[in-house]
Symmetry: C2
Subunit: 758 residues, 2 copies
């Protein structure tokens, strides 16, 4: 026994410190060699259970009818899934919330000058697509959820992507959107940013269209010939101000249970200030073609066969929107498999189940992979094996309108989730191609190990190697060198856009978001054409990547559930945060240089000298100089953190290398500290002006939406030139990083005393 | 007298060495303070004589009818100009050449599959344009001159810009153009490169179209609403292989006089190997829309409202072209004003007069500015002043088909031009906006001084300051710092595309090319819409920049004609050549790195790992490693040259600072050496595979066309991976630079002995 154990320990040490590719018989992170071998046998059995035909059949069934939040079929899907989970041995429940969900009653967009045109606002029914012409009365029409009601008429202004920088450029051309209706193209930011910024600038209405440059024939053949958005296709989606808080607009911070205290709708700050409507490029073309005024800057121009002008007018449009502001029931499917040793340590694995219409890709492709994963885990549990820790599978309702199901569930169960949740693992859409990994960098080593163990179905190499090859081919210089040489592939920091947000950014639960894609054809996003037919032609026709996702998610869940010690590691995290800090410092330097240059060009009259007298030119406003900020507190915290992270690794190694395992109590205490570590990255008061967002390392951008802002408190203060706030946030971040280091140091102490104590 | 002279000398010294902005009362380069003041008075009189109405009236007259090479109206224009020049006091002659000039007899382009379509091949007649519907029988239709006759049918392949790199990308996608007809868009290279490369790759025909992305509605409103090319507009132009040699294809190296020995047409190497036809985007759209095969790479996609595919086919087209291979007469207008002191030192100033159709912008806008400049010079000469050196104004015929008039004139008079020509000053089109300067860097200091003395008509600052402000605004980093701080604005090296080529690159005459633009609307280039109406709406409506060009060209000519010492300076040249040498070395290093990387990715199977199994993928061919080359000979020559250039400056300064002028003989000897200095940059054997091009510093790119290749012998050998040739060319270049340094050293010696001798 003893000699076997020391061999195992040797393997574990290797896994922790080796910069070389893993041996096949290495111990997995968090396992000793014995438990690791057991785990790998379990995973082989798990793999052998996965059946792509299940996924195909469930997708076909779940996409037969529209299944958005509040729909009859959405509820049926939830009940169907609950039934399946129960049949697989889970304790499965539907958990209901009562949420505000507006659906359109009136949608009118017409151009009244210089000619009349009424937008169709409907996606064509295609005979080549099995469902686009079915269940018409059940399909949600094209609209943006949480747009306010309104009836506005005004001249049109083209605002490109409608982000703050675009309005600066309009200002330089003498164009003001006050009292105007803006038309923005999708892209460049999350859609909800567009009406938010437009309203801040005084616009009275907002139209968002899909330009064929970004999302149409420019990208590839359009549906049904190819995968891409056709001229009648349009993108539904939420425009609630989710970077303030996601979830039900009436119940921030609390679960939207039947008896929850609710805001009055007038006081719901995440509902837009102006009416918003998405349209197809077929509907946008006449409006844009009739615009006058200056020609748009070259990087504002899309792929419509026109000269893009900025306006204002002469295109004048009326936008009239009325919604049914109903409260509907969201049905989360929550399925538990109780942990045999540490039932109070929870691994939560989720994917939403609601769609905008049929949602074969978004979300069913991810949901069915999760279900097949859960079925196989259930099968394993029926045949003797039991997870050490509790596994919770969740299929969220109402993700599309604003992460409603997940957010309300998290807010309802915040206290126990904070106590118990080890990690949250999310997926959403899935398709053919390359593994995508995002999440907490405390899990970067762990998820990389998983990726090295999943085989790409097309190339028969690991999905990690394939993802690495893509980075090598698509990068250059230092980035390419790192793509080749860094042992772990970097995982992306998470902004928002799917159900990890309440876990990661509200609770401070270490989270991952995974999926495959890049070789699947786009263009069906949030359209009625996101159908079974579309997905099985262009997405993942044989569900091979559905299997790959189940293998990836399954390994993550099974390893987290079974590990001797939770497989967190902190050196990657510490290195990432150092990079983010460098970025923020460089950002400040760059802003300082740009501001100095702008001031110099103002005083040299450079822009007046080159301006074309035939075109309107407004001198950019003067800017105060960018001060030098004190980043030393962050740098000092990072130095401590780097040491703490290294010491933890060393303690892990020597605890196991001593040949003596920890006591069961020490293991449990250690788990407890590791579980709580990510919580130390949150602050109770949250971020400035958005207290719901507690995490101090990752947040969606206040003016970019889904796009992540790392070190958001400091970074956004700098971007907004709020220097006093930047300084305060610098101190807060330093304190947060110190708190985090303290947690790691606690874990290290447990390892040392636990190892010494036996 | 003496004290006055020493003051003047002080001024001259300042002008040569001061890094500060010039004083208003400084001495001009090549002048002493006394002659400088005289010169500046002369230039003020010159300015006062310039009349914009003359330009307007001449343009109206010269653009009334089509005036291409060989046309009746072209001859009438030449006779009209000869009459004007004579009335201004010039010895003006028409000098005739007999040149091959094909015009179309049959033009047929039809698509036979997958549907039938016949291209219109005609530019719509517009009532808003005074001449597009006039003189239809005289208008040259849309065609490419020096396309071979042919009648070919084949599947179509889209080849982007049709440059060598584009074919590599096609190869990687498994597409071969052998036996196919290619369709390329205008841009990315000079047009003649497209059929040349296509033929090298085995294509049997070539269609060139104007994509609206580069030259149509994407850029701005189309004619007649705006300036840009409409869907029926097309670009005529030569496709003779001018990077081999320009001029009459039948008489390389000799003037195309009536009795010249001519090649048989079958042996004329610059005529294309396959038939070529330009079309409008209206004609191209059905052909491109019907293409199948892979979707084109994103940077290949234009602005047509389609998904761009590569083919081959199913679009199948027939291209039938037959030409009248006539010999026509080219009429150059040559007008002389004899120099009073040094009549054998010639300043040649030229602009072509032939157009593709009406040619208001190209070339009449430049021609009328040159004419007004010449008229004012003639007026000055009628009132007592005489130039020291001889001034020759030239209005070339047949520039459009291939620099015929200028090339044949240069070849005819090569010996005397080599002996006598100080410099050639070219202009072509002109419009509203910013000064453009290109040319020999031995004239960079000089032309910058001129630019500081011309006032921008819109901004009332110097055209130099306006050009500098544009560079400051549009650049960043080191480039911006240099744009601000370098005393002289860099002038571009010249490739080809206008009549300076035979002077600069065949004879080795220091040359300049100047013009204004950037605020004039494009889109009429080589179209029937390049009309008086178009130009006076979008070009230079009030001819203010015509006046600016006359002022610029006039100052250059008058200063070159009157200077005490020719205003050449060599430190700028030496610095530029050092930069070019650095570029070539960096190019080699970059190619080595890229080749190493490509080899590594081949052995790592990176591209196989990421390729999409649903798409064709061909592994890029293996490449031999890039060797390290011996650049030391060039570096040693450059070190010597830098010293020689500095010593020349010092000798100039001390010669004048000594307070004693040179003897008239020494001045003349010095002029003689300076005139010949640029000739030392040529080699009798010319460049590899194109002996007509003698200059070793500047040449049009063999595979880019108009775009310049500096240090062409070395650079193109490296680009083509001809390592032995690169080494030979390195030695040849080093020898050339040494020869040039010897000339400078001779000039320095004259300065020293001349100054010492008196």
């Amino acid at each position: 026994m003893n000699s076997l154990r020391s061999l195992c320990v040797f393997g574990l040490v290797l896994a922790l410190v080796s910069p070389l590719p893993a041996f096949q018989d290495k111990a997995l992170l968090g396992f000793n060699r014995e438990s690791s071998a057991r785990q790998q046998r379990l995973e082989r059995r798990f793999d052998s259970l996965l059946k792509r035909d299940n996924m195909r059949e469930w997708m076909r069934r779940m996409t037969l009818r529209p299944h958005h939040l509040g729909s009859a079929y959405g509820k049926q899907n939830a009940e169907f899934m609950r039934g399946l989970f129960r049949s697989w041995g889970y304790d499965a429940q539907l958990e209901e919330f009562q949420v505000l969900f507006p659906t359109p009653r009136t949608r009118l967009l017409e151009m009244t000058a210089p000619e009349r045109f009424t937008a169709k606002l409907a996606e064509p029914q295609l005979t080549e697509d099995g469902t686009s012409s079915q269940n018409l009365s059940e399909q949600l029409p094209v609209y943006n959820a949480y747009s306010i009601d309104g009836d506005v008429t005004g001249q049109l202004v083209y605002v490109n992507y409608g982000v703050p920088r675009d309005y600066e450029i309009l200002t330089e051309r003498g164009i003001d959107v006050k009292g105007k209706i803006v038309i923005a193209r999708y892209g460049g930011s999350w859609r909800g940013i567009k009406p938010k910024v437009a309203a801040e600038r005084g616009a009275i209405g907002c139209i968002i269209y899909s330009d064929p440059r970004d999302d149409g024939y420019y990208q590839g053949d359009v549906y049904p010939k190819g995968a891409w958005r056709n001229e009648g296709g349009a993108q539904r989606g939420s425009v609630a101000d989710m970077p303030s808080f996601p979830g039900d607009p009436l119940t921030p911070n609390v679960g939207a249970t039947a008896n929850a205290q609710r805001l009055r709708r007038e006081n719901a700050s995440t509902i837009t200030k102006i009416p918003v409507l998405p349209v197809s490029y077929g509907d946008a073309l006449p409006l844009l073609r009739a615009l006058g005024g200056p020609v748009a800057p070259s990087d504002w121009r899309g792929a419509l066969p026109i000269t893009y002008h900025l306006g204002p007018g002469p295109s004048t449009v009326r936008l009239k929107l009325e919604f049914n502001w109903n409260t509907v029931t969201a049905y989360n499917v929550i399925a538990r498999l109780r942990g045999a040793e540490r039932p109070d340590e929870w691994i939560v694995r989720g994917n939403h189940h609601d769609a905008w219409v049929y949602g074969a890709d978004d979300p069913v492709s991810g949901a069915v992979a999760l279900m097949e994963e859960a079925r196989a885990v259930g099968e394993l549990a029926k045949t003797g094996w039991k997870p050490k820790r509790t596994i919770i599978y969740a299929l969220w309702d109402g993700e599309e309108p604003g992460l409603l199901g997940s957010t309300e569930w998290v807010e309802t169960h915040a206290d126990i989730l904070r106590r118990n949740t080890v990690a949250y693992i999310n997926s959403d859409s899935n398709g053919r191609g390359f593994l995508y990994m995002g999440g907490s960098h405390t899990l970067e080593k762990f998820v990389n190990e998983v990726a090295r163990d999943v085989v790409d179905p097309q190339k028969k190499i690991s999905v990690s190697d394939r993802a690495r090859a893509l980075r090598v081919a698509n990068s250059g210089g230092d980035e390419r060198r790192e793509a080749r040489d860094r042992y772990d592939l970097r995982i992306d920091a998470l902004g928002s856009g799917s159900d990890y947000t309440p876990f990661l950014q509200h609770l401070g639960v270490a989270s991952l978001n995974i999926g495959y894609g890049g070789e699947d054809g786009g263009g069906s996003y949030h359209s009625t054409y996101d159908s079974f037919d579309h997905f099985t032609r262009f997405g993942d026709p044989d569900f091979a990547y559905g299997v790959a996702l189940a293998q990836t998610g399954g390994r993550i869940v099974l390893r987290l559930a079974n590990a001797d010690v939770l497989p967190f590691a902190f050196t990657n995290f510490s290195e990432h945060v150092e990079r983010y800090a460098r970025e923020v410092m460089q950002l400040t330097d760059r802003m300082r240089e740009e501001t100095t240059e702008r001031t110099r060009q103002r005083s040299d009259r450079t822009l007046e000298m080159i301006s074309d007298p035939k075109e309107t030119f407004v001198l950019p406003a003067a800017q105060a100089a960018v001060p030098y900020l004190n980043f030393a507190p962050i740098q000092n915290s990072l130095a401590r953190l780097a040491t703490s992270a290294r010491e933890f690794d060393r303690a892990m190694n020597s605890a196991f290398a001593s040949g003596r395992a920890l006591s069961p109590e020490a293991y449990k205490t250690l788990d407890g500290v590791l579980i709580q570590s990510e919580r130390a990255l949150t602050r109770r008061e949250g971020l400035p002006r958005r207290s719901w967002f507690k995490h101090q390392i990752y947040a969606p951008g206040f003016y970019t939406g889904y796009g992540v802002k790392t070190l958001p408190g400091v970074r956004e203060a700098i971007e907004q030139r709020e220097w006093a706030e930047a300084t305060a946030q610098t101190d807060a971040l330093a304190q947060t990083l110190n708190n985090f280091a303290v947690e790691i140091e606690r874990a290290t102490a447990i390892l040392r005393s636990g190892a010494a104590g036996r």
